[in-house]
Structure formats: structure tokens, C-alpha cells
Symmetry: C2
């Protein structure tokens, strides 16, 4: 077995190229297979015991009219997740992905439910046009929620985590984080979210610009995440950092999960090796975010729902990438002639 | 229940828009759901009992040095499919897709195997730079092989067929068909296939141009398919036509299956309503083919393997599109507030 990363890379690439197919003919699947094999340091990686969490929280900035939907939709959708009626439930059932909903900060008291993790840090974040969304301590508490869930899952053998979210107003927070963390103009980062019209988008842009101005002295990724993020975004960032420590595959969902990744990546640059980006969202800003990260999304289906739906839809492609490595015959095994 | 197609379309669209998600937020999945619901005239369509066939045949034109691989790879890969060691086997197992390999014209005698359909029309097609690849009768016989398999499957309840192929030299036939059926220059239709270098591609282009010249008087799609196609391409075209008659969903794989679709579509234009295009291949010409058809592929992963691998990889997306229709709650069901 090779001992150096570069030797491993060559070793895995040769293993891929010995499979009964023209070299490179599985395209992106070969790149994903290489990434996952490198992550697990195995020629036969597996994505055993995947876990899917939807982190939910409310946003103080929702009072500024930045969403097409009322804030109550956050808790109503949490109940919909728990009842099994949302899109993510359908896709999670399809792929046998166990789903837990994590309340890190919804403005609502929920009855206990077997699929609900009650880990509320506070009843919604603060309005970041007036104050930091969270204190640094609250941000760390929310990150700790995600961290502990992933740590427990990995200790039980999980090799992949899929992270989604729910929170009315959270594309506004994600846009602010993206603008600040990638040093981009707010206009490049603000989009329609769940379906804002043009005046609504103009209002949202003004809100993000005001927030960026108010918090422009902050420097560390933790400070920025606390001021401009949200409790569910912080929880996802914490989950990602722990997955990176455990070398579990992180399946990043869309624009909002992407903003959590930006913060986590600034804290731990080597996280890039552990992450795959499930899709390019129709939300304006996401394509630029992916380009700045230098990553290629797996799917491009015009999705803009969140909830982890993109991650769940990309899941079978990731499984396929590990399956062909494990299951395909080589030219020698199968007695197939090679290109002269 | 509506009686007119336009009423059905509105009825289904309203049903989609009542689901607990912002309108349009599932992007392409909503378009696919609409297409499949229209096809099945049902608000709760299903893709029960899918069938996957890999049609295999040899090509006389392979003797012109148009492939990076020797012709023996066709029968060797058929044996690999039967042994379960090819990429399509891994993906078919992953998604529970029953796979049959259909010999419509491989230059090899196979031992009987439970997953092999022996329906050889002849031992490889003729070299279409010298003669028609098939006679019209042979072409119809090959089409009949595909037609009968689909007819039997549909009579047993299959709602979807996935069609793939194997045949050294068959991107050359597909390029010739594409050029002729879409009236495009050969250069826009000829690519690297399994991995030709630049001189190889120039040779392949000359071969296609010679064939187009030799057969330039042919007019009907059957004549063109017989002269420039291949036995596995004809079988796929026959399978597609029967699926169209049965209103089963046709999951078209890549470039070669696409060329079979071009021929079948010319014979039955309403086939477009029954077909989805699993991916955009890395093979040059495929993107232009899809654009000329006015269709959007589901995946864009740089695949160029054939065997039905793209169709199998897109399968879970199609299942997801029907699942959200069947399983998601409406705003009313779930008590979720709507956009004001």
C-alpha cells in the first residue's frame, strides 16, 4: 500500500483505468471515485450509513420583508418534515437515507418527536441590520449541535453526511455571508430566494448592504458567521468541521449549505478534500460561489428548494461512483482486449 | 377528470403547484413530473417494472480503423455483461433494474445464458462505405427484436424502458445517421468515440463522408437506418417505436441511442412526448443532437461509455420526479402558509 498522497492518487487512478471501459469514459464519476477513495485511503471505498440532517432556525432579518413567505413557514415546514410530507422526505425514503430534523433556533415550541432533535440555542437569530445575528458564544453553541451529531454518527460508522436546512430568511443570511467571505459585491450574491419579485429583491439587496456595512470590521470567520449567519447555518458549519476531522464525505446541498461551507472552509481549508457539491442552484449567486470554490456541482437541475433535496438527489451518483470502483471487472479479470 | 390534453396539463400543473414548496423550486424535476404525468394521464404516475436492455451488434465499418478498440471487444464485453462485471451491471444492481443483453448481430456464437436474448439477425452489419449496412428486411428484423421485447414487457406492466448498446464502431454509424437525419455536416457529428486520437478522428470523418456520399439518394428513415445504422441501433429504434405505442417512458442513453431515437422520431414524431434524455455525452455531436431535438438532458457528467450507463444513472432522478408527485403533502394537507 502506498504511503504518500501522490502515490495513493496514482495507485487509485491506475485501479480506475484498469476497469473494463475506455479511460475517462465515466467522466465526473471517475473524479468523484478518486476523491472518495483518497478520502478513505481505500481502493474500495464505501458510503456506509449515510446520515441526513435538516437544520432549522428562524432569522430576525425576516422581519425586514426579505422572503416571499411568512416566518411561520419555518415551524410549519418542520412539522411537515416530521409528518413525512415534504420533498426531502420523499427523496430520503427513496434512497433509504435516515432523516433527522434539528431545531437549532426555530421560534416555536415543538412536541417531542422521534425524528426531531431538540437543540434550540435561542428563539431565532437577531436582525443583523441592527445587531449581530448571534453572539460568538451562541454561534459556537449552534456549531456544537452539528458537531456532536456528526461525531456520534461517525463513531457509529457513518462515512457520509448530507446537510440541509430550513429557515425563512436564510438566503438573505447566506448572501451576506457569501459577499463578506468571498469579498464580492452584495448584488452578485442576492437572488430571489423562495420567489421574491423585483422590488422584493431590491429590498433584500438593501438589507444585505446595510448588514455588511454595520458589521464591516469583523475579521475572523467565527465573528462573521455569528454576525451575518444563522443558527442553522452555524450548525451546518460545525457539522462540516467535524466531518472533516472524521474524514467523512460532506454532501453540500445548495446555496445556504454552501454559505456554511464557506465559513467552515475558512476555518479549515483542508475541508475541501472532504466535500462534494450536490448541485448548482437556480438561486443567483450559487454558480459564482461554486466557481470561486473551484468546484463542479454534480447536478444542474434548476433546483432552489433547500431542505437537503439536492444532496439527496445527488446521493445515488455518489453511490454509483463508489460502486463501479468496488464492483467492476478489470480488463484482465474479464478477458477484454485493450486499446492497442 | 379532464378530457382535453391542455386541461390535463393545467390540472397536473396545479397539482404540482399545490405541493409544499415554492412554485418551480424543484426545477427540472417538475418538468419531468409533468411529462410523465401527461404520458400516463395520471396525477400519481409511477415507473413500475422498468426494463433495461443492452443491444449488441458488430459493424462492418469497424474494419476501416474507426475505433480505438479491436472488434472482438464487442463479444468480450457481452460476456462481461453476462458475468456482471461491467459498469452497467454495477448501476443496474444499484437501482434494481433487471438487465438483459440482446445479441442482434454480434460476430460471435454465445453459449446460452439466462440474461442473454439470442436474436442475431446476421453476423455484424456490412461496411457501409461499400454497401448498405443492412438490407431493409434485415433492418426491419432487427427493429422487430426490440419491438417484441418492449411489447412483452409493457403487456406485463412495464412503465419505462432504458435502452443501451454495445458495438465496436457504432459511434461511426451514429455519426452518419445524425448527419443524414439532421442534415448536418459530418464534421459536426464525428468525435473521438472510445478514444480515437486526431489522425483516427480524421480517418473516421473521411469514412463517414464517404458513406454519406454513397448513400445520398436514400429518403425514408427506414432506408437511411438500414444503410447507415447498425443492427443494435435498429433494434433500439424498434424498441422506442413500440414504447411510444404503449406510452411507456423511453429513457434514451447517450449518443448512439440518440441516433436510434432520431430515426424512430422521424418515423413517429409523437415519440418526443414519451422520451427523456438521460445525459449529455462528452462525445462530440451529442450536444448539437440534443439541441436540434430541443431537449434538455437530465445529467451532464462527461459520460461517454454507452451500455445504458447514462440511462441507469438518470433513473433515480426520474423516480424522484414521480415520487414527489405521489408523496408530497399540499399546503392545505400540511397546514403550511402560502406566499401572500
Amino acid at each position: 500500500m502506498p504511503s504518500q498522497p501522490n502515490e495513493w492518487r496514482q495507485h487509485i487512478q491506475q485501479f480506475i483505468d484498469r476497469k473494463t471501459k475506455p479511460p475517462g469514459s465515466l467522466g465526473r464519476l471517475e473524479e468523484l471515485a478518486l476523491q472518495i477513495a483518497l478520502l478513505q485511503e481505500s481502493l474500495r471505498p464505501n458510503l456506509a450509513q449515510p446520515r441526513l440532517w435538516v437544520f432549522a432556525a428562524d432569522h430576525g432579518v425576516a422581519t425586514q420583508g426579505v422572503s416571499a413567505y411568512p416566518q411561520d413557514v419555518t415551524w410549519q415546514m418542520v412539522n411537515n418534515f416530521l409528518a413525512g410530507g415534504a420533498a426531502i422526505n420523499a427523496f430520503a425514503r427513496q434512497h433509504g437515507l435516515p432523516l433527522q430534523v434539528v431545531d437549532v433556533g426555530v421560534k416555536h415550541n415543538f412536541a417531542p418527536h422521534p425524528n426531531l432533535v431538540q437543540a434550540k440555542v435561542r428563539f431565532g437569530s437577531g436582525d443583523f441590520t441592527q445587531m449581530p445575528a448571534m453572539t460568538a458564544l451562541e454561534c459556537q453553541q449552534a456549531m456544537e449541535v452539528g458537531r456532536q451529531l456528526v461525531a456520534a454518527a461517525c463513531s457509529q460508522g457513518s462515512k457520509a453526511v448530507l446537510l440541509g436546512e430550513m429557515g425563512i430568511g436564510n438566503t438573505t443570511a447566506a448572501s451576506a455571508l457569501m459577499a463578506r467571505l468571498l469579498d464580492l459585491p452584495a448584488a452578485a450574491c442576492v437572488g430571489a430566494g423562495t420567489g421574491l419579485d423585483a422590488p422584493g429583491q431590491a429590498r433584500k439587496l438593501a438589507v444585505v448592504e446595510k448588514a455588511l456595512q454595520l458589521h464591516d470590521r469583523l475579521q475572523t470567520p467565527l465573528e462573521i458567521l455569528a454576525a451575518l449567519g444563522g443558527l442553522e447555518i452555524a450548525a451546518m458549519a460545525g457539522a462540516m468541521l467535524e466531518a472533516g476531522r472524521c474524514r467523512a464525505l460532506i454532501v453540500v446541498d445548495g446555496f445556504i449549505a454552501g454559505s456554511a461551507f464557506l465559513a467552515a472552509w475558512r476555518m479549515m481549508p483542508e475541508l475541501a478534500a472532504c466535500a462534494v457539491f450536490s448541485h448548482c442552484s437556480a438561486e443567483r449567486g450559487h454558480r459564482a460561489m461554486l466557481e470561486r470554490l473551484g468546484v463542479t456541482p454534480i447536478l444542474d437541475l434548476g433546483l432552489r428548494l433547500g431542505e437537503g433535496t439536492g444532496a439527496a438527489l445527488a446521493w445515488p451518483i455518489l453511490e454509483a461512483a463508489t460502486r463501479f470502483l468496488r464492483e467492476m471487472a478489470s480488463f484482465d479479470d474479464a478477458g477484454v482486449s485493450e486499446s492497442p
